[in-house]
Amino acid sequence: MLPRRKIDMPVTVYIPTPFRKLAGNQTYIKTEGDTVGQVLDTLGAEYPGLRHMIYDEKDQIPGHINIYVNNQEINSLQGKDTPVKDGDELAVIPAIAGGSDDAEDDRPRVGALTPEQVDRYSRHIIMPQVGPVGQRKLMESKVLIVGAGGLGGPVALYLALAGVGTIGIVEFDTVDLSNLQRQVLHQNNDVGKPKAVSARETINAYNPDVRVVLHESPLTSDNAMEIIPQYDIVVNGADNFTTRYLVNDAAYFAKKVLIDGAILLFDGQATVYVPGQGCYRCLFPAPPPPGMVPSCAEAGVLGALTGIMGSIQATETIKVILGVGEPLVNRLLMVDALSMEFRTVKLRRDPACPLCGDNPSIEGLIDYEGFCGSPFPGHGVEGALS
């Protein structure tokens, strides 16, 4: 049994204006606790009105309240179990009123940027296309990345650096030595570790403000409509056709913009699907039979090309969040790294598309197992799909 500490850590809690009348009109309150949860409990015991604001009826911190320890949001630390020490400062920051009227929306609300955030994001903020308003849009946005590999890596890194508030990662694989030729989220020491865990560590090492949500199982027709609707935008870094058709269909049904990218050898493709304006099935109505188009594991892929294509996907994601420029909607970008030629061709919604056409025949997610004649990801032979 560990010796019980006699003195709890004295910490300071910052109380924002709207809550001050519930806390004796104090701006700063000195209180005690070893963890964030203990500090909040001590505080709540003393100021029941404040407790009512910090905890909901299930004793959970509601989504519109963010708790910071020394300017770091606790969801990026250990939540209520985050340890605090002498001299730490906690801040209880409620969402700014206005904006979404959806009471169920647990989107992290961003108030005024802290001085540290202004500094961190200054190269974006000084751009008129971003500015403080755009930066807050990035910080409030929720992006799902399917795959934490070659494409998902640079996507996750650049979105994290840009301050995207919530990044979801769908990944069930573990880091293999052969991944390190291109997958920038993972390093030598990560071999054997779950890729999702390795991804979160890298992302938070770059930017601890990012909330990383892990979905550590294969995307399936069972879970896709639970996961995808939680996000604003979906980025596709899947490594097989089965998942690509599933992501396409689920993003369409959930009415989410899909930022698509694919790579093989020296070739890359990228496009942006806006629901109702064409989809992956409009572009390629059916997957190839097994063996007709090799996978990266079979044919190879230039590592640096994943950086190009992933960065393009990150760029398109940021443009869509900010609402600036002309994303690759109704255009397919083809990159040939050997000749270093970038070309775009037109991509149209196909009126005969079985998903988004005039008379759609697909009305729900298909059970994709064996859809491409290949084993289902997660159940197949390692290497056959990745």
Partner: protein, 91 residues
């Protein structure tokens, strides 16, 4: 009637190794037949039962031939045709 036909890196190894192939034809169907005559086996990479594979797209300049006249799409000297199979790599 020389048409520049662009192919992906994965197809290049079957077509002489260059990023494009020079071929001839008044329309896309003739063009593909001309390539197949030069590089036997090409036909099966792109077509099945007289139709283009559903996982392969062919573009005349920047337009998908499915939205033109498909295999009967007319070609003229100096056109660029691109053949693009679906890629699934991401990891």
């Amino acid at each position: 009637m020389a048409i520049d036909v662009r192919v992906t890196a994965n197809m290049q190894k079957h077509l002489g190794g260059a990023k494009s192939v020079a071929a001839e034809g008044a329309n896309v169907r003739e063009l593909l037949a001309d390539i197949d005559a030069k590089f036997p086996g090409f036909h099966d990479m792109v077509m099945t039962e007289g139709e283009i594979h559903r996982f392969v797209n062919i573009y005349l300049n920047d337009e998908d031939i499915r939205f033109l006249d498909k295999l009967e799409t007319q070609l003229k000297d100096g056109d660029t045709v691109s053949i693009l199979p679906a890629l699934a790599g991401g990891s």
